[in-house]
């Protein structure tokens, strides 16, 4: 049952991603991507990572994609303003390149005997997750939180200097 679900979800995610990356309208692309992320979140759940699945929905589908939408709207990249997307001339070689790379990867995976074994269901409860996270990686948690702080400050700085620049332009 879960195996079948896995394949269904997997192909859904791939299809959504494919649609996402080929859209010319970024709003559409974001919507498809949200779709893909939902599928992915379910995949995570199937693989025994409920916490990651939840965060995938909350952070990616929820926060980040909304952020994208905000920006798209803020910059008024509405459909009529959308720049012409790449044509086949551009997609052709890129697709070929990507396919070659994918084939290489799959070949490598195929020849590696170790990867043919089945993945057991390995459930990680939030309790275990939290314990390992804070016991084993306290330093990494610190570093990542600082990273987030810096990102916030940085984003603020970039935005602020923009306003200053605007003011300078007007004066």
């Amino acid at each position: 049952m879960s195996t079948v679900l896995f394949y269904i979800l997997g192909f859904t995610a791939l299809a959504a991603t494919l649609m996402c990356i080929t859209r010319r309208n970024p709003v559409h692309a974001v919507i498809y991507l949200v779709n893909a992320f939902f599928a992915l979140a379910l995949l995570f759940y199937l693989l025994g990572a409920p916490l990651v699945a939840a965060w995938e929905v909350i952070i990616y589908a929820g926060a980040i994609m909304v952020l994208f939408l905000f920006i798209i709207m803020m910059l008024e990249l509405a459909p009529m303003h959308t720049p012409a997307g790449p044509g086949w001339k551009r997609w052709g070689p890129v697709a070929a390149l990507s396919l070659i790379l994918l084939c290489c990867t799959i070949l490598m995976v195929a020849v590696d005997t170790g990867s043919s074994q089945s993945v057991p269901f390995f459930y990680v409860s939030p309790r275990v997750f939290g314990t390992v996270l804070f016991k084993k990686y306290p330093l990494a948690v610190q570093v990542v939180s600082f990273q987030l702080l810096f990102a916030a400050v940085g984003a603020y700085y970039v935005g602020r200097s923009e306003r200053l620049a605007d003011r300078e332009d007007k004066s």
Partner: protein
């Protein structure tokens, strides 16, 4: 779950290269960023799969770190997208070649 690891890897690989193709093919900065997001998520899938395969929590933990880093990256890069759009009224990636040698 009776999925072989290779299939998980194949899925994530396919997703990764879709994102990769997006980054290469699209000219719009927003779309490029979206491609990057796709690639990152593909990596997340691999990590979770590996975590399940070896029965270790660490893989999932790294997905969390990955998400945190991604949100940091996205906030900065979107701020810069805004900045750049304000400056040159375009989001064409090729319009920004200030690093030309």
């Amino acid at each position: 779950m009776i999925v072989p690891m290779s299939h998980i890897l194949a899925f994530s690989g396919a997703m990764f290269f879709m994102g990769f193709a997006c980054v290469l093919a699209q000219r719009n900065l927003i779309m490029i960023l979206i491609g990057v997001e796709v690639m990152l998520n593909a990596v997340g899938l691999t990590l979770v799969g590996a975590s399940a395969l070896w029965g270790q929590v660490d893989g999932q933990i790294f997905v969390i770190f990955l998400m945190a880093m991604t949100s940091a990256e996205v906030s900065i890069s979107l701020a810069m997208v805004v900045y750049l759009h304000r400056r040159s009224k375009t989001l064409e990636a090729d319009a920004f070649s200030g690093m030309k040698g």
